[in-house]
């Protein structure tokens, strides 16, 4: 056994058990499991909040809550889903799968990895604690500005804003740590012979994500820090009366915020092609074209931010620039769609749950991208901005494109991670319920958005009543269907039919050469790639 390549590994060869195992672990599989579990829990928490929102919107008028509490739910729902559900899920997969896929014994910086995870639970508590504090008469609840923290509202808001700012700081530090780790792992720990252009697509997706994260998260951290000093230390970064400018916050926020939407999706664009090739039983089409497209999207992502506030007032040349650069992103994206479809073309396809999710994902995410093009049109956006059309657009990209993509990954890798097959029938049922109720929830939101229903408002005009009712019914089915997902995962972790090493007939890649589940320490002897 080689001891030089993995000098740290004897540290925990007799690892502690019980809670101490999880608190102190530096094992990439343990940490990956913690990230994924955390993500699932927060997905349910964020989902419960939005059911409150949809219940209020079931009928026009105010039935269940006051507008302020409604806005708190909106803001915390979004922050949780983005920072505590989607991002940790992607990081969880990175931890589990990147070392296995590139033939490394572990992540490059195992201790940093542990800290990165353990910053997450405190930040989740920071986000939600103001709700509880308000029950005891402390403060007036959680952040009520939406996830975008726009001043002057966020400067005037209560302690919920401070809690959210600190939560964002912690979450930012955590994801920067995770990104540093992933970059170092991918550059330094690949199996001999695995050149960059032989890396699995998932590794590519994550490498670009990690670059985007280290470049943009600090800008968000800087922006919310300025908010904090505006709130408490007498600075006037965003206060027009003091010589500042609230619009500047929008620039800073979206300089992070737009790349963030690709941060959420690039890992998914990495593993979906792997799933497609597995269940089409033929090699991925256009590997190089896909890698270059990922890079192109990563680069364009940082130069299009102002399409989020076309209506805030900009000179016409700026409007045109941001419109055309935004639309340009759809070119590399179209290349990716072409490659995904061509990968399946004339393949010998089968539709196990991961493949169902992957194919459904292509269609639904496609709708998200196309509606984005509509919004990128300056003239059209003047009408659609801040309407439910935007809400529907980003749920097609983030729920379908993000969460449903992650679900494809969960079903794909769960047998590898647990060593057991999940219940295929339940998995398929979960897919169909999710896909159908998702559309029932969000298609009506396109319609009411086009007709002028504004977002982030707890009440609405009577003409929107039917579509909102349909949307709420869809949302409740969608929400409760996820219990099937949770049940399936728990049962699969506990037992079930043994999974083979390869799990899927058409699976390719190093992770499938290991046993299911893989040994606690894998690839102590790095494989050589020819």
């Amino acid at each position: 056994m080689s001891t030089t390549t993995v000098a740290h590994h004897e540290e925990h060869s007799d690892h502690p058990t019980g809670i101490m195992r999880w608190l102190t672990t530096t094992n990439h599989k343990d940490i990956g499991t913690m990230y994924l579990t955390f993500s699932l829990v927060m997905f349910l928490v964020g989902g419960a909040m939005v059911l409150g929102i949809r219940a209020e919107l079931f009928q026009p008028g105010l039935q269940l809550m006051n507008p302020d509490f409604y806005n708190q739910l909106i803001g915390v729902h979004a922050l949780i889903m983005i920072f505590a559900a989607l991002m940790p899920a992607a990081t969880g997969f990175a931890n589990w799968m990147i070392p296995l896929q590139i033939g490394a014994p572990d992540m490059a910086l195992p201790r940093l990895n542990n800290w990165g995870f353990w910053l997450l639970p405190p930040s989740a508590i920071l986000l939600t604690l103001p709700f509880t504090l308000a029950l005891f008469g402390i403060g007036d609840g959680a952040i009520a500005t939406g996830w975008t923290f726009y001043p002057p509202l966020s400067v005037q808001g209560g302690i919920g804003v401070d809690f959210a700012i600190f939560a964002v700081h912690l979450l930012g530090v955590s994801s920067v740590m995770g990104s540093i780790n992933i970059i170092v792992t991918l550059f330094n720990m690949r199996a001999p012979g695995m050149t960059l252009m032989k890396m699995p697509m998932f590794a590519w997706g994550w490498l670009i994500t990690a670059f985007l994260l280290v470049a943009t998260i600090p800008v968000l951290a800087g922006a919310v820090t300025m908010l904090l000093t505006d709130r408490h230390f007498g600075t006037h970064f965003f206060d027009a009366a003091g010589g500042g400018d609230p619009i500047m916050f929008q620039h800073l926020f979206w300089f992070f915020g737009h790349p963030e939407v690709y941060i959420l999706l690039l890992p998914v664009w990495g593993f979906i092609p792997q799933i497609l090739q597995t269940f089409s039983r033929k090699p991925m089409y256009g590997y190089k074209a896909q890698v270059y497209s990922l890079w192109a999207i990563g680069a364009l992502a940082v130069v299009v931010w102002a399409h989020h506030f076309f209506t805030a007032g900009m000179p016409v040349p700026a409007l045109l620039y941001f419109m055309y650069s935004t639309m340009a992103i759809s070119l590399p994206l179209a290349v990716l769609f072409f490659c995904w479809i061509k990968t399946m073309w004339k393949g010998s396809m089968s539709f196990e749950t991961p493949m169902l999710f992957a194919v459904g994902w292509i269609i639904l995410f496609g709708i998200g991208g196309l509606t984005g093009l509509v919004l990128a049109d300056v003239a059209a956006d003047a009408q659609y901005h801040n309407s439910y059309f935007v809400v529907a657009h980003f749920h097609y990209t983030l729920f379908a494109g993000g969460i449903m993509g992650i679900m494809a990954g969960v079903y794909y890798w769960l047998p590898k991670m647990t060593g057991h097959m999940y219940n295929e029938k339940l998995g398929k049922l979960h897919f169909w319920l999710t896909a159908i109720s998702f559309n029932v929830t969000f298609i009506p939101q396109f319609f009411v958005g086009l007709a002028g229903m504004p977002r982030r408002i707890p009440d609405y005009a009577l003409q929107f009543a039917e579509f909102n009712m349909i949307s709420t019914i869809g949302a409740f089915i969608l929400g409760f269907s996820q219990l099937l997902f949770v049940y399936n995962i728990i049962m699969c972790a506990k037992g079930g039919q043994k999974a083979t090493d390869k799990v899927w007939e058409g699976a390719e890649g190093l992770e499938w050469t290991l046993s299911s589940p893989p040994p606690y320490h894998s690839f102590n002897e790095q494989p050589v790639i020819k």
Partner: protein
């Protein structure tokens, strides 16, 4: 243990991690550098209609009698400031280079002395750098006693370099409660 004798691999990993950390620190600094950069960019390009908020020196430029521009005045009072505030005349037509004085009227309707700060903005953005203020109530905070009414003058001219195609511009003032008072 491992740490007392780190492997080559670990040394290389730490090195690369430090390099990435520099990028992180760099983009944090970049975020704060964007604040002055933003102001510079806005005053060069007129983005956001930001006007130069210091007194312009008296115009030595000749009056351009060949054309006229109309300047419209708009006023707003921001929440938290209990004032009435409006321009005495809503627009003026003048030659570029011609110096004029217009008056805004402010009244404090509250029972306390309050000071306010007016923030100007000009549309279209490309005209904003051509509106030159010689004297303006917006240069400093204005304090009004309870019930007091004050005439606030603005003395300005439009620079003769104003692009030919701009025939109309709007000068808008938003009065904010001046920062740092209870």
């Amino acid at each position: 243990m491992a740490d007392s004798n780190p492997s080559q691999q670990q040394v290389a990993n730490k090195k690369l991690a430090m390099k990435v950390l520099y990028v992180v620190v760099g983009s944090l600094l970049f975020a704060f550098a964007l604040v002055p950069l933003y102001d510079v960019l806005c005053s060069i390009t007129g983005l956001n209609g930001k006007t130069d908020n210091t007194a312009a020196t008296l115009s030595k430029a000749k009056i351009d009698n060949t054309r006229v521009v109309t300047v419209q005045f708009v006023s707003a009072v921001m929440p938290g400031l209990g004032w009435n505030f409006y321009p005495k005349q809503t627009s003026i037509t003048l030659h570029p280079g011609q110096i004029e004085t217009v008056v805004f009227i402010a009244k404090n309707t509250t029972t306390e002395t309050v000071s306010g700060q007016a923030v100007p903005s000009v549309t279209p953005g490309k005209a904003s750098s051509h509106l030159k203020k010689i004297e303006c109530f917006c240069f400093v905070n204005q304090a009004l006693k309870s019930g007091e009414t004050k005439e606030m003058p603005l003395r300005f001219f439009v620079s003769p370099d104003l692009p030919e195609d701009v025939k109309e511009m709007t000068l808008s003032y938003s009065f904010f409660k001046a920062p740092d008072q209870k």
